[in-house]
């Protein structure tokens, strides 16, 4: 009963256009005052306060700063050029190049939006110029950008780790193999389409192919800076040299150095990156605060027991529970951003899956894959809006949706593989961390 009222209030507020953060907080306050004494609010503030001082959360603003800085550095441009020239006369080379560049960028950038916007500007004009089919061109950018959720350092993993009490380092490693699986599926799809329907991905012209070897080698320079940066950030986490939050700080310095090497570092640019970081971070952190209050009230009202009992009542045993949770998340993904989903469902779901004997690292990877699906799918597909913000009026939202469809189905396949074979995600962390 309380659940219905609470969810109802929340949804009405949300759909009437009140910001997600305030909708959560307002619902929490209403139910807190109706069910408990006002002093309970002070207890909720202490939950918010402990969130403010959460050490893992520090990684979020730092990785955002790093991404914004790298966007200015021109690294993506060089990276794409190098991959493009080296992919040579391979059919569909530009689209494959986009996916691969996205993956390499993803090892430095943890935010999907930053990736899609960058490659929408860097890679899309070239593909359209060469008359690539728009389904391949638009789809490869949205799908490739989404890989940033799985390839470390991913902000989604950090937030999940915080709510689920899992290790960030382990999650980061666990995301690698599933991320590469996605890359393989996407590249395979492009290769197949280019071979089956050559007109959809015209080959490079003779001029473009005649790049002297010397120049080709020089272009490889574009891979050096990203390579080092990715290695330092991830390596320091894996080697246990630095915490993820510290690694993010090192990454920021690395991004500044890379930008300086490319002679793009300006005082104005640093300030803009700082301003942007503040706005994005504060938007995110108040979502955390709102979630802390609403989950706090809901737990006090015994809601976690209710969710546990209803989830347990699902048919087909523990796999029924997992599949039921996936469906709930896909449904929520239709109108909520990933962060809202993590914050609202994970505090309730993770204890249940742990009780059922599942691994919370594996569940995190499954969740990320699930969010990759929701990023691409209508009606609320964030990656579509990111790309739309770059292409302007040239392509309608609907055309981008349609372009995403093949990639969406491939991601669903990958999701099914990861759910069915936990080893795919757990093998690498098990080996590297000797677990």
């Amino acid at each position: 009963m309380i659940t219905l009222l609470l969810v109802g209030t929340f949804i009405i507020l949300l759909f009437s256009g009140l910001c997600l953060a305030w909708s959560m907080g307002a619902t929490a306050v209403i139910f807190c005052l109706a069910l408990f004494a006002p002093n309970v609010m002070v207890m909720l503030v202490s939950r918010v306060y402990s969130m403010m001082l959460n050490y893992t959360l520090v990684a979020v603003p730092l990785f955002i700063f790093m991404s914004v800085m790298l966007q200015q550095s021109g690294v993506a441009d060089q990276l794409f050029k190098a991959v493009h020239v080296w992919s040579g006369n391979l059919r569909g080379g530009l689209a494959i190049g986009t996916i691969i560049s996205c993956t390499i960028m993803a090892a430095m950038v943890g935010i999907v939006g930053a990736e899609i916007v960058t490659f929408g500007m860097v890679a899309l004009p070239g593909m359209l110029e060469r008359k690539y089919d728009e389904r391949i061109a638009l789809g490869s950018i949205c799908a490739g950008g989404g890989i940033a959720t799985l390839i470390p350092p991913s902000v989604v993993f950090i937030v999940y780790a915080m709510t689920a009490g899992a290790s960030v380092g382990e999650l980061f490693i666990a995301g690698i193999v599933p991320g590469l699986l996605l890359v393989a599926l996407f590249v395979g799809y492009i290769v197949y389409t280019a071979w089956r329907y050559p007109e959809r991905a015209p080959a490079a012209s003779k001029d473009e192919l005649n790049v002297p070897l010397r120049e080709k080698v020089l272009l490889l320079k574009g891979l050096i800076a990203p390579g080092i940066l990715g290695l330092v950030v991830l390596g320091s986490i894996y080697a246990g040299v630095a915490t993820p939050s510290e690694a993010a700080g090192i990454g920021c310095v690395g991004a500044l150095v890379t930008t300086a090497i490319n002679r793009k570092l300006t005082w104005r640019g640093i300030k803009d990156a700082l301003w942007e970081t503040t706005k994005v971070t504060c938007m995110l952190s108040w979502l955390f605060f709102g979630a802390q209050t609403i989950i706090g009230v809901y737990t006090l009202a015994g809601g976690d027991e209710f969710v546990r009992n209803s989830v347990m009542a699902l048919p087909f045993g523990k796999w029924g529970v997992i599949i039921g949770m996936q469906l709930i998340m896909i449904f929520l993904g239709m109108f909520l951003d990933w962060i809202g989903i993590v914050l609202l469902t994970m505090p309730l779901f993770v204890p249940i899956i742990l009780d059922l004997g599942f691994d919370n690292v594996w569940f995190g990877v499954v969740f990320c894959m699930n969010m990759h699906v929701s990023y691409l799918s209508p009606p609320f597909g964030p990656s579509i809006f990111y790309l739309k913000s770059v292409v302007g009026d040239e392509f309608s939202v609907n055309r981008i949706y349609r372009a995403n469809m093949p990639y969406l189905w491939l991601t669903v396949v990958a999701l099914a593989i990861i759910v069915a074979f936990p080893q795919v995600s757990l093998w690498l962390p098990g080996m590297m961390m000797g677990k």
């Binding site: 507020l13 949300l14 759909f15 009437s16 256009g17 009140l18 910001c19 997600l20 953060a21 305030w22 909708s23 907080g25 307002a26 306050v29 209403i30 807190c32 005052l33 006002p38 609010m41 002070v42 909720l44 503030v45 202490s46 918010v48 306060y49 403010m52 001082l53 959460n54 050490y55 959360l57 520090v58 603003p61 730092l62 700063f65 040299v241 939050s245 510290e246 700080g249 090192i250 920021c252 310095v253 300030k271 700082l274 301003w275 970081t277 503040t278 706005k279 994005v280 971070t281 504060c282 938007m283 952190s285 108040w286 979502l287 605060f289 109108f335 909520l336 809202g340 009606p379 609320f380």
Partner: protein, 166 residues
């Protein structure tokens, strides 16, 4: 009225930009700690707290600017299809809920901070810095959010009633 609204905008932007420098402080603190730990083998005992406190204050003080810049995510499945004036009408109504949340939060965080000030509470670590300034910053952040929320409310109400933007 317009002057008041613009003044509030300016306050939010100022607070947000000031708080932004905390990110730079945090990056410096991390770099310093890493350098001390691995190059000089003398890890600091204060850096992790500086990092956490810097970010905590950033979250509190930057939120009003994010509101001013309309950054907080909302769902526009229905809302997005309304005309700007209708949106302003709906926003003027939902403002009540924003205000409810914020005023209760202001009261509760104020009480929480007051308790900490009375005790002159410290973090209890080796460095042992006072923690009440952070709790005060949360109260201040909520206060700034209320101010910016009121400014937005005035704008919405003006558009809703008069049909033109303030």
């Amino acid at each position: 009225m317009k002057k008041l609204v613009l003044a509030i905008d300016a306050i939010s932007i100022f607070a947000g930009k000031a708080a932004s420098w905390l990110t730079a402080v945090v990056i410096l603190a991390v770099s310093y700690e890493i350098a001390m730990r691995y190059v000089f083998n003398r890890p600091t005992f204060w850096s992790s707290e500086i990092i956490v406190f810097g970010c905590g204050v950033l979250y509190a003080l930057g939120a009003a600017w994010a509101l001013q810049d309309n950054r907080h995510v909302k769902i526009d499945m229905i809302y997005g299809h309304l005309s700007p004036r209708k949106r302003a009408v709906v926003d003027s109504i939902t403002f009540i809920f924003f205000a409810l949340y914020m005023f209760v939060f202001l009261w509760a965080s104020g009480k929480y901070a007051l308790r900490s000030i009375e005790l002159l509470e410290t973090s209890g670590t080796a460095w042992d810095p006072p923690v009440y300034p952070i709790k005060i910053s949360l109260v201040l952040g909520v206060f700034l959010l209320i101010l910016q929320g009121v400014a937005k409310f005035i704008r919405d109400l003006h558009l809703a009633v008069k049909g033109v933007e303030l």
